[in-house]
């Protein structure tokens, strides 16, 4: 492709990353089909942040829209990365759990309702400590309940990425979609550096960070499903493809033997390079094994 054809496409696309959480959720749903549950005017804010001299947000950084995507009943839960790094507190966690549980109840009553999670989050909100930790386990329990009936699609667009306890939530969802700008990992770069030293991980080395946590690497090593451009239409289309595909025969997080064998086979006496891991953990291989396990 010549520059003349690449640049107009880049300039005219609608960036997904530049949208706020509410706009992101709206961009995925059928226009006019949605309504917001526990919106900002319901004023359910974190009671804990003001006690610590931090301004709360009227939706606690969690937007829940109920409606349809390509005609299918769905709930979209979007975390606002701009507010407290999208961290999960008591209120935002409860909103997520309740939304997932309503989707499960609707699905059990014959109205299959899928969930789309837009995760831009550093994980547990440290200011809310144990309540945030409890929220993660509640959200995970609700996902396990829902994924018997309908798929859960996680979208990590960036630029906050998805870390900490919420990376576990991403890990047990049915599909993970990422952009090149997005990152996914349990411990973020700064946490690793703080805990294990700069020899272990230099958190100022952006090339290293994206080589380990970046969307291209995560999709390449088969722990995420699709690598997408930062384009609202492209991301919406990918979500619709996942909805159409429905529940995977086996969830990634159910392939315990596959991943146990893979980890056991790694030679940790030498530094494992990101590209080596991509070759070894070829996602096509995993798909083949998944097929034979059916």
């Amino acid at each position: 492709m010549s520059i003349a054809t690449v640049i107009p496409a880049f300039v005219t696309r609608e960036s997904f990353i530049e949208l706020e959480a509410r706009e992101r959720a709206q961009a995925l749903m059928d226009p006019g089909s949605w309504r917001e549950l526990v919106g900002p005017f319901d004023r359910i804010e974190s009671p804990w942040l003001p006690m610590q001299s931090i301004a709360p947000q009227s939706d606690d950084g969690c937007v829940v829209l109920k409606g349809t995507i390509a005609g299918q009943s769905s709930v979209v839960i979007a975390l606002e990365g701009g507010f407290q790094a999208g961290s999960i507190g008591e209120v935002s966690g409860a909103k997520m759990t309740a939304a997932l549980d309503l989707a499960t109840r609707d699905s059990q009553n014959g109205k299959k309702t899928a969930a789309v999670l837009l995760l831009e989050t550093g994980g547990v909100r440290l200011q809310e400590a144990n309540l945030g930790l409890a929220a993660i386990s509640e959200v995970m329990a609700s996902i396990f309940a829902l994924r018997q009936y309908a798929p859960i699609i996680t979208v990590i667009a960036g630029t906050v990425g998805c870390f900490g306890g919420m990376s576990l939530v991403a890990g047990i969802s049915s599909y993970i979609l990422m952009t090149r700008e997005a990152r996914l990992g349990l411990n973020g770069a700064e946490v690793i550096e703080q805990e294990s030293g700069i020899e272990e991980f230099d958190s100022s080395d952006r090339a290293l960070i994206w080589a380990i946590f970046g969307g291209e690497q995560r999709v390449g090593m088969g722990v995420a499903d699709e690598l997408l451009q930062d384009d609202a239409k492209e991301i919406a289309a990918a979500v619709q493809r996942c909805l159409k595909a429905g529940l995977p025969a086996v969830h990634r997080s159910q392939q315990i033997d596959l991943y146990r064998d893979r980890i056991a086979a790694l030679d940790t006496s030498q530094q494992i390079e990101p590209l080596t891991l991509r070759k070894r953990w070829d996602s096509k291989q995993a798909k083949a094994k998944e097929g034979s396990a059916r």
Binding site: F41, S53, G82, F83
Partner: protein, 98 residues
């Protein structure tokens, strides 16, 4: 953390819509703007930056010199500059006057 309150009795034009704009990110704020039942404008602010009451009053005085809607405004603020505050308020007005 500081709570501030301002009243603008002369802003008494009825409005019917509500608006929510902004994110409580560093240097930014959110505005919730809705029709006031009392028939005049009331502003409440919750800010993580203490000691800027007079700046808030100056920005709001200027805003209500041009805007006369009977609105209830609530602001959650994480250190927005006066310029950003005015832009967010104008953005909210744009939504309710649509």
């Amino acid at each position: 953390m500081e709570q501030l309150k301002f009243d603008y009795p002369s802003a008494n034009r009825r409005v019917s819509k509500k608006a929510h704009v902004g994110v409580v990110g560093s240097g930014d704020m959110e505005v919730l703007m809705e029709p006031a039942e009392t028939g005049s404008a009331h502003v409440s602010i919750q800010t993580s930056v203490n000691g800027f009451g007079s700046s808030w009053k100056a920005v709001l005085d200027r805003f209500f010199a041009r805007f006369d809607g009977a609105v209830r405004i609530h602001i959650n603020d994480a250190g927005a500059t006066p310029g950003s505050v005015m832009l967010r308020l104008e953005q909210a007005v744009e939504v309710i006057e649509q």
